[in-house]
């Protein structure tokens, strides 16, 4: 059948506008016949991503969505039942087909499904907005002013625009005929705009009632934590709701007629996005057992978790869902059907599989989200996805690593242990709990068991620390998210800082008193993450066997298929640092000629470790036969004495006796070049408590003058050996203080009602971290290798960085073989570093 010829160009303006109106109606009809609006996929993806990425959130977490559903239903269901047809009639502008479409859209089922989806969006949004709501507590009035301002701006602007359009508009230069055309269109739109206002007014009305309710309740002490987020959420969601189309206003927005609404809506969405993103960072920072997600951008706690967790989860669910979502024709039944496989995966398969493989869901899902997301974003390969999903193999590898290294090497009984219970460093923190934290502002106790599981003594510094990394704390402060996040509320007493030496296998019961002081009493309860940090100086040790082969012999064996060269992996001691040594595929051919062979040393973070690691130095030990690293490499030869000297002799300790009326002494005072002051408080009388202990450290020659104050200091009368070592960290540039330089230390304190000032003592600055690292076991290994087994010690000539590859070129030739065909050497690399490991618990208290 031949289509009719196009109508001739309308001779009159009136007919032209009629045609124009007809075209617009047809276009709108085409738009509306899409049964499922595109935007509907995004909240679904968002919800699922949230669930997949955040991980382990029990299903009842979503119970809170019910109030939203009830709330929106109360508004829109009556509207749909009572006024649905009327809205459709008005919105359609008299067009029969459009009216039918609108009636269908305003059917109860259609409205209900949109309500459910919008409720999820609202709920998830609220979760992300919590930190902002908390921040807003202190500025409640400003928030209300902003809200009211927005309303005031929206209201007259819209009303005014409608009015002037009804009154032929202001732009008279267009001419009357053109304005007539606009009028035709405006009449079409007025009915729609009218509906929009109606709904908008309704929401504003509810919001105003809510605000009024807040003022009423706040007088009675109702928690801001509930009201403010709720009201703000209603406002934001209502804006989104109206914009995105539950009232079909999406199709009625006068895009070309100007006005403040699109701009304001755009601004709201930008604001909303900003709030969600920053809020998600804050939530990520607060998520207690956030796993250490290795990767190019992950830095300790915080950003790696929310960013990669959420984004990875999002990418994953987007791809997974779109596989099913995209191929099914648009339609409500198809839409819900398309959700089924994704729901099965997220809510059924994941929770079903993960416990079987003995991993807690909570920490692993974000990792999975990240891994999957990262893999997909890099490769887009289904094979890689499945590889990523091979958790069991991954676990087996981790388990095997533990068993070969930790269990066999260090003699830990590993049978039946699960990886997450195994130690990743020399010290294990367990049973970290709080007691007596009922009311905020009252002191309560925290205890923890700290156990040295290494076979050498370790000096540790245990303290309660800020649950955020400095980086995260800075951001939270910048966003003013300091109250709700416990950044300022947690008060840590100086007694919580303890320095002690743990013997091998020795356990220590850590305890201290602390407090949570809420800054805002409008909240009813407060939960804070408490983190115990144990800082220690550790080392990682790795060994690589290098096998050389005579070149001709190698070739003949290779020709016969008896020899295949392969990379030999280095064995690495367990710990948060994986120090790797690599070289060429082995066995390595040697001929008469000298050639340069490269040894590579690099370190990475172990996937299973958490905490903060600061490498201090790398060392490389080569057998004497291999000679020294060539100067073009990153290592230079040193003697052990040059590195460590004699730390014991270099460490200068002094006592201050007979202070505070003659019975207080400060023994074994030593000040180290990394800013640490160690001492043992002692009394020859009864044990007592000193208040306000001030320690001044000054050096005229170094132009250094620092002081620190301790609120309290317990002084015992135990023997010198049994007294607990106290440490105070004087923050100072490390390069500034040099071992051997003179320094003066002065103690002053209050005992009872009186203040005392002790005599100053002069001592020399002791060597810093490296001396503590080189004590004990490491020292014995290195001295054995260098003296007994003739190893040449090399030190990295620059300050080490994680993940960076350092090289040591050496010259090799056939003489190494000593007339044989095969010979092996063992080479070693050592990384010394300070390691801060954490234990975490959550404390909740009621505000009184």
């Amino acid at each position: 059948m031949q289509s009719p010829p196009p109508p001739p160009y309308p001779p009159s303006v009136e007919e032209y506008y009629k045609e124009l109106l007809k075209e617009m109606k047809e276009k709108r009809r085409e738009d509306i016949t899409k049964e499922v609006p595109d935007w509907i996929y995004y909240p679904i993806i968002f919800i699922l991503s949230f669930y997949a990425a955040w991980g382990g959130i029990p299903i009842n977490y979503f119970e809170l969505v019910i109030p939203f559903i009830v709330f929106f239903s109360l508004i829109f269901l009556p509207l749909a039942i009572l006024r649905g047809k009327d809205i459709a009639r008005r919105a359609s502008g008299g067009d029969h087909e459009l009216r039918k479409e609108y009636e269908r859209k305003w059917s109860i089922g259609n409205v209900l499904s949109r309500i459910i989806i919008a409720s999820f969006v609202a709920f998830v949004s609220m979760t992300y907005l919590y930190p902002w709501m908390a921040a807003a507590r202190a500025y409640t009035s400003y928030i209300f002013l902003i809200i009211l301002g927005i309303y005031i701006l929206i209201f007259p602007s819209l009303a005014g625009r409608v009015e002037y359009e009804k009154l032929l508009g202001r732009r008279k230069k267009w001419g009357i005929k053109r304005v007539r055309g606009w009028l035709e269109r405006s009449r079409e739109e007025i009915s729609t705009v009218y509906e929009r206002f109606k709904i908008f007014f309704l929401i504003i009305g509810f919001a105003l009632v809510g605000i009024g309710g807040y003022f009423l309740y706040s007088a009675g002490g109702f928690s801001l934590m509930v009201i403010i987020p709720f009201i703000l959420l209603i406002l934001i969601v209502s804006i989104l709701y109206v914009y995105l189309g539950i009232s079909d206003l999406k199709y009625g927005l006068p895009k070309k007629t100007g006005g403040a609404v699109p701009a304001l809506l755009y601004l709201s969405i930008l604001l909303f996005t900003f709030l969600i993103l920053t809020g998600s960072i804050a939530i990520g920072a607060m998520s207690a057992p956030a796993p250490q997600v290795g990767g190019p951008f992950a830095t300790g706690y915080g950003i790696g978790y929310p960013l990669f967790g959420v984004l990875g989860g999002m990418i994953f669910t987007f791809i997974f869902y779109s596989i099913f979502g995209a191929i099914i024709p648009k339609g409500w039944v198809s839409f819900f059907l398309s959700l089924v496989p994704t729901f099965i995966l997220i809510f059924w398969i994941f929770p079903a599989i993960l416990p079987i493989i003995n991993i807690q869901i909570q920490p692993i899902l974000p990792v999975i989200g990240w891994k999957i997301g990262w893999t997909w974003s890099l490769s887009w390969s289904l094979a890689d996805l499945y590889k990523t999903l091979d958790y069991r193999k991954y676990l087996e590898q981790v388990q095997a690593q533990y068993e070969t290294l930790w269990c066999d090497v260090y003699g830990i009984e590993c049978k039946g242990s699960t990886p997450e219970l195994m130690p990743t460093s020399g010290v294990r923190i367990s049973e970290f709990k709080s007691y007596g934290a009922t009311y905020c502002g009252k002191n309560f106790s925290v205890i923890a068991k700290i156990e040295n599981i290494a076979n050498y003594p370790i000096q540790i510094q245990a303290s309660l620390i800020n649950p955020y990394s400095q980086w995260m704390a800075d951001w939270l402060t910048a966003f003013a998210l300091t109250h709700w996040t416990c950044l300022e509320e947690l008060e840590v007493f100086p007694e919580c800082n303890k320095t002690l030496v743990l013997r091998p296998k020795q356990g220590y019961q850590y305890s201290c008193v602390t407090n949570i002081k809420p800054k805002n009493t409008e909240i009813s309860s407060l939960s804070c993450v408490l983190r115990i940090g144990v800082k220690m100086d550790l080392y990682s040790f790795s060994r690589l066997p290098i096998t050389f082969i005579e070149q001709n012999y190698s070739w003949s064996l290779q020709d016969l298929g008896f020899l295949t060269k392969s990379e030999v992996p280095a064995i690495v001691t367990l710990g948060p640092i994986k120090l790797n040594i690599n070289t060429e595929p082995q066995p390595i051919d040697l001929s008469e000629e000298n050639r340069t062979m490269y040894i590579f040393v690099s370190s990475g973070r172990a996937d299973i470790a958490s905490g903060e690691v600061t490498p201090t130095s790398y060392y490389l030990l080569l057998p004497r036969e291999l000679g020294n690293c060539l100067p073009e490499g990153d290592f230079s030869a040193v003697t052990l004495d040059e590195v460590v000297g004699n730390c014991k002799e270099k460490e200068v300790r002094e006592d201050i006796n007979s202070c505070g009326g003659g019975d207080i002494s400060f023994l074994d005072i030593s000040f180290h070049e990394d800013g640490y002051l160690f001492f043992k408080p002692w009394t020859n009388g009864n044990s007592t408590t000193l208040l306000y202990v001030r320690i001044d450290v000054l050096s005229q020659s170094l132009n250094y003058n620092e002081s620190k104050t301790l609120d309290r200091l317990e002084v015992s009368n135990l023997s010198r050996e049994k007294i607990e070592i106290k440490s105070v960290n004087f923050s100072s540039p490390k390069t500034f203080l040099k071992a051997g330089s003179p320094i003066t230390v002065r103690f002053s304190f209050r005992k009872g009602e009186r203040e005392y000032q002790c005599a100053t003592t002069s001592l020399k600055i002791s060597p810093g971290t490296y001396c503590r690292q080189f004590g004990g076991e490491l020292n014995s290994i290195l001295s054995n290798l260098t003296s007994l087994y003739n190893y040449n010690l090399h030190i990295l000539t620059q300050s080490p960085k994680e993940f960076k590859l350092y090289t040591c070129p050496i010259k090799v030739n056939k003489t190494l073989l000593e007339s044989r065909v095969f010979k092996s050497f063992l080479i070693y690399a050592v990384a010394t570093y300070t390691y801060l490991t954490y234990g975490e618990t959550t404390v909740s208290c009621s505000v009184i």
Partner: protein, 316 residues
């Protein structure tokens, strides 16, 4: 009573079968045809050893009973360090030669390195253990971490392998009558060198009234499963059935009594070379003649292998 005895007998019979099938039969070491010398065992009987202790490694070899004498058998360890060899109560870490003879009775150890043991000869069917006491590296030397050490060994020996290749020559009249013959190896000693013989066309044909000529064609190659190489030159001697079948001379071959001989380098052998030996066939009235060529290969063969020793630091 009788039933109980029958039951016991059944159990006994079952155990006997089990023992025979799984125990004795499974553990019996039967050398393959390419194994003139077979390495029965190499390594340490204790696979995981403690640091700073003594352990021992043993390489057990057997001379195939179907072969000849193996002479100058030298068994050496390679890649010993960081283990050290202990001999006569003394630790040797560097290449060190023995000044005195072997304390273990190996016949030609004198003057050899301690990592090497030597026997002047091993009779067919004889089994010899070559063993070394090793000092395991200390905990410090291996960084107090589990250490898997791959040790290599070589077994070098002189051997003479023999083959008899029978060519059944056929009278041309018999051939016309429809008779057919074939050639085959009728005797061989075990050897890692594979001998394959053939003749041009399908048959060596002689005449009743005139002389004819033909060729013995054979190739040599090293069998890959033997896991070894020939060291130096391999000497091959081909003995003809009698003087009358021998040509006066063959290029590149040296005439010996009733045969020819030549050396083949290891590189040449690696290419599986083919050799043509002329064969004179004088007139003969017999319908068939069996021509038995005796081939002797004299070579020095080196077998390679490796084994693993794991040092586990003592648990604390």
């Amino acid at each position: 009573m009788r039933r109980r005895i029958r039951n016991h007998f059944s159990i006994f019979f079952y155990l006997l079968i089990l023992l025979l099938s799984l125990g004795c039969i499974a553990k019996e070491e039967i050398p393959q045809s390419y194994e003139d010398i077979k390495v029965l065992f190499a390594g340490s009987k204790i696979s995981r050893v403690a640091p700073d202790t003594n352990t021992f490694v043993v390489i057990t070899i057997m001379n195939n009973a179907l072969g000849g004498n193996a002479t100058s058998v030298i068994v050496s360890l390679e890649n010993v360090e960081p283990f050290r060899i202990v001999e006569g109560g003394k630790e040797y870490s560097n290449p060190s030669e023995r000044r005195k003879g072997s304390p273990y009775g190996y016949t030609c150890d004198d003057g050899k390195e301690v990592r090497t043991h030597c026997m002047e000869g091993i009779m067919p069917g004889e089994i010899i253990d070559f063993f070394w006491i090793l000092k395991v590296p200390s905990k410090e030397e291996i960084g107090k971490m589990v250490y898997d050490h791959q040790m290599y060994y070589t077994v070098k020996y002189n051997y003479v392998a023999k083959f008899i290749y029978r060519i059944t020559a056929i009278n041309e009249e018999e051939l016309i009558r429809g008779s057919r013959v074939s050639n085959s190896i009728i005797y061989s000693t075990p050897s890692p060198i594979k001998f394959e013989g053939k003749t041009p066309d399908n048959y060596v044909v002689f005449s009743t009234n005139q002389s004819r000529e033909s060729y013995l064609i054979f190739s040599l190659s090293v069998i890959p499963e033997a896991r070894g190489t020939v060291e130096g030159d391999l000497s091959i001697t081909v003995f003809y059935p009698s003087q009358e079948y021998m040509p006066s001379e063959i290029e590149n071959w040296i005439k010996v009594s009733e045969g020819f001989s030549r050396n083949i380098s290891a590189i040449e052998l690696a290419t599986s070379p083919e050799f043509y030996l002329p064969l004179n066939l004088p007139p003969d009235l017999r319908p068939f003649i069996n021509l038995d060529f005796r081939i002797e290969l004299n070579y020095t063969f080196i077998k390679n292998g490796n084994f693993m020793i794991t040092v586990v630091p003592i648990k604390i």
